[in-house]
């Protein structure tokens, strides 16, 4: 309906159980701050710029509600998303075992979207390693199984945040280059087709 609606270069959507640190990660990315946010019930939007090799891009970041019961309602948030960040809390085993329901949502996203699995709250481990409930290897294995990239981060200390953001940007640029090539090929193909169509019509006449 809204043809005037402006679209950003990339739609990033954050998924994960409640209280794994989705909103905190958004705050760290966009404002560089760390604070304890209120729970998210619907979805909130924010944006961040990415300086690519040739030009500057603007990404929109969608933060969703983690509550399991809101899942069925919120699956349409995933429409047109190009990048999914799936989060779990490395000090909370449940948040890791529940991950599959978020991977199931990927069917609603773009075909060429890419997924990054993220273990959060790394800073808690640095103090006492007893708190860790999900090992690094488990996380990597899960990411491999699901054909996605993997990070362990801390929004509090900012550990791996920059690396994460650059990965997102790199993957986006690669994707868009592929798309451009595809787009050109499609255009060429279309021209040939239209040309042949015209010829046929002439023959018919």
């Amino acid at each position: 309906m809204n043809e005037e609606e402006e679209k950003y270069d990339l739609k990033i959507i954050l998924l994960g159980s409640s209280k794994v640190g989705k909103t905190t990660l958004v705050n760290r990315l966009t404002q560089g701050t760390f604070e304890n946010p209120e729970q998210t019930t619907g979805a909130t939007f924010s944006k961040k710029k990415y300086q690519g090799e040739l030009q500057e891009y603007t990404f929109s970041i969608w933060d969703t509600a983690g509550e399991e019961r809101f899942d069925s309602l919120s699956s349409f948030y995933c429409r047109n998303s190009g990048c999914e960040l799936i989060l779990y809390d490395i000090t909370d085993r449940n948040s890791f075992t529940n991950l599959d329901r978020f991977f199931d949502k990927l069917q609603y996203t773009n075909e060429d979207s890419f997924v990054i699995l993220i273990g959060t709250k790394l800073d808690l481990i640095e103090e006492t390693s007893k708190l860790r409930k999900v090992t690094l290897e488990e996380g990597k294995k899960k990411a491999n199984d699901k054909n996605s990239y993997f990070f362990e981060i801390s929004s509090k200390t900012g550990h791996n945040i920059q690396e994460l953001w650059e990965t997102v940007g790199d993957l986006f640029e690669k994707n868009s280059q592929k798309n451009e090539i595809k787009h050109r090929q499609d255009n060429n193909h279309f021209q040939i087709n239209s040309f042949t169509n015209n010829q046929k019509k002439k023959n018919c006449c």
Partner: protein, 571 residues
């Protein structure tokens, strides 16, 4: 054992008193509110507290979630007394998740219960134990009695239904919003904000004043409070979208900017806005304890109301009935009043003519009684009376039909006739008894006068019943889906029947007294009074009927889908 306080038993006047206490005195943060809420749930027996005590120390799957969520409530007022509130909140939520296994725990419950905990903290007189007990049972009251628990069930079916309902209604009422409701980021935005409001009972995004006001409405038993408040929210959104200095948002970032702008607007006159919508949805005396719009004499409210009316007039094609009803309400009322007056006049005339007829008939009957044997004459007289009654009823019905200009189907007539017959059988029995008494007392003339009056009364009652049935039939034909209204009709009919029974009982008692005294003059006076009373009651009944007709027309389009889906589940 378990006493449950049924708020429905309270009369409207008491409700109005409560409401006045809450809103008119001392603004919205009146301390009586919490006492009133408590009075709603008399759950304070010791054994009930034991249930709570036993549940507090149960741990279940929701424990860690509750612990996390209860820390996250950042409402400004709660910050001051934070630590004690968080502890209480955790305990209450944990106990409730074990108690009500259907819901367990769901985000949103923490907002509602923190509001309740805060309410009692603020009061200051109670120990934390007492507070927790009360909040626990008050929460249970909200969930069970007012069926809010359906919003929190595992897969939230009611929530998504409610949201689609609100979206449909909003696109009807606010056509400008339509493109934003069904597509793009706007849809996500609406979805999010309405879901938030529903699931937290408006206690998350709104200031304390508004949240408490909406809880008041729910506790006072106003039906569909949450849905109507959501529509009020949509009206606010529309204003903010199209009448502020900012252009409508075009992408998600502009939407989130819009969101923060909108949140700042929530401070202003939102309760009043809800009242406007409640008035639109419940235009007549259905919620009589509710203050009229004039109660809020702020200019802004009057402006909003006027604007809403204009908007509905601007889209006449789709909402013709609604608009006509809302706009020409006053005119219709006047017309109805005139009609009622005419009807009453006609009825009085009919009654006079009836009484004359009855006198003549009875004279004839007396002769017949003297001539024929007693047993046979009784039966024959009864038959005659029956026939006469039928004739009278038919005449009256015809008159009333003409007056009311109602189109009646043949089926309806058949049903009416059946009902007439049933009533007549009842009348026969009564008359038989009366005749026996007559023979015993040998005061035939006096009693016959009484009989005449009784017959008249019964006829009137019959007519009332017929009218009710007519209305019911018409309603059923017109609005099969409007269960709510039918229920209301049925309730009203019950009341009316009660009144009729009362009248009949009064009459019978009076007749007994009359027999004892055997004073003709007193009898006549009393009977006249009775007739007057009945005429008055008839007037009232007719007014009610008219209101209901209006009500039906008015609600037809508003509520169709809504009634199907939500009526059973929401209050």
């Amino acid at each position: 054992m378990q006493k449950k306080f049924d708020f429905d038993l309270l009369s409207d006047t008491i409700k109005k008193e409560l409401f006045d206490k809450i809103i008119k005195e001392e603004g919205f943060l009146h301390k009586n509110r919490f006492q009133i809420w408590l009075e709603l749930t008399i759950y304070q027996q010791d054994f009930m507290n034991e249930i709570y005590e036993s549940l507090v120390y149960c741990k279940n799957e929701y424990a860690s979630k509750i612990q996390k969520d209860s820390k996250r409530n950042e409402k400004e007022i709660i910050l001051e007394t934070k630590t004690s509130i968080i502890r209480s909140l955790e305990r209450v939520l944990l106990a409730y998740s074990s108690y009500n296994e259907q819901i367990g725990y769901c985000q949103g419950l923490n907002y509602i219960s923190s509001l309740l905990v805060f309410s009692y903290m603020e009061k200051g007189n109670l120990s934390t134990d007492q507070i927790e007990h009360r909040v626990f049972w008050l929460l249970d009251f909200l969930m069970q009695k007012y069926s809010l628990q359906n919003l929190y069930h595992q897969k939230l079916p009611l929530l998504s239904e409610s949201i689609t309902f609100i979206r449909d209604q909003a696109s009807k009422y606010f056509p400008q919003l339509r493109p934003y409701l069904n597509d793009g980021v706007g849809q996500v935005f609406f979805h999010g904000i309405i879901m938030d409001c529903l699931i937290t009972c408006f206690s998350h995004l709104f200031p304390l004043k508004t949240s408490l006001f909406i809880l008041d409405l729910i506790f006072l038993g106003v039906p569909n409070t949450l849905l109507i408040s959501s529509l009020a929210l949509c009206s606010l959104i529309q204003e903010e979208l199209f009448e502020s200095d900012f252009p409508p948002p075009k992408n998600e970032i502009q939407w989130s900017q819009f969101n923060s702008r909108l949140l700042s607007k929530f401070k202003f006159f939102f309760p009043e806005r809800i009242i406007i919508f409640l008035r639109i949805f419940y235009p007549d005396s259905q919620i009589s304890f509710f203050p009229s719009i004039d109660f809020f004499r702020t200019d802004t409210i009057q402006l909003i109301f006027a604007k809403l009316m204009q908007e509905q007039v601007q889209t006449p094609n789709k909402n013709q009935n609604q608009n006509q009803n809302q706009k020409s309400k006053i005119k219709i009322q006047k017309e109805n009043q005139n009609q009622k007056q005419n009807q009453n006049q006609n009825k009085k005339q009919n009654q006079k003519s009836k009484s004359n007829q009855n006198q003549k008939q009875n004279q004839i009957k007396n002769k017949n009684q003297n001539q024929k044997s007693k047993s046979k004459s009784k039966i024959e007289n009864q038959n005659q009376i029956e026939i006469e009654i039928q004739n009278q009823n038919q005449k009256q019905n015809q008159n009333q039909k003409q007056n009311q200009n109602q189109k009646q189907n043949q089926k309806q007539n058949q049903i009416e006739i059946e009902i007439q017959n049933q009533n007549q059988i009842e009348n026969q029995n009564q008359i038989q008894n009366q005749n026996q008494n007559q023979n015993q007392n040998q005061n035939e003339n006096q009693n016959q006068n009484q009989k005449q009056n009784q017959i008249e009364n019964q006829n009137q009652n019959q007519i009332q019943n017929q009218n009710q049935n007519q209305n019911q039939n018409q309603n059923q034909n017109q609005n099969q889906n409007q269960n709510q209204n039918q229920n209301q009709n049925q309730n009203q009919n019950k009341n009316q029947n009660q009144n009729q029974n009362q009248n009949q009982n009064q009459i019978q008692n009076q007749i007994q007294n009359q027999k004892q005294k055997q004073n003709q003059i007193e009898n006549q006076n009393q009977i006249e009074n009775q007739n007057e009373n009945q005429i008055n009651s008839e007037k009232k009944n007719h007014k009610k009927h008219h209101k209901h007709h209006k009500h039906h027309k008015h609600h037809k389009k508003h509520h169709k889908k809504h009634h199907k889906k939500h009526e059973k589940n929401l209050n």
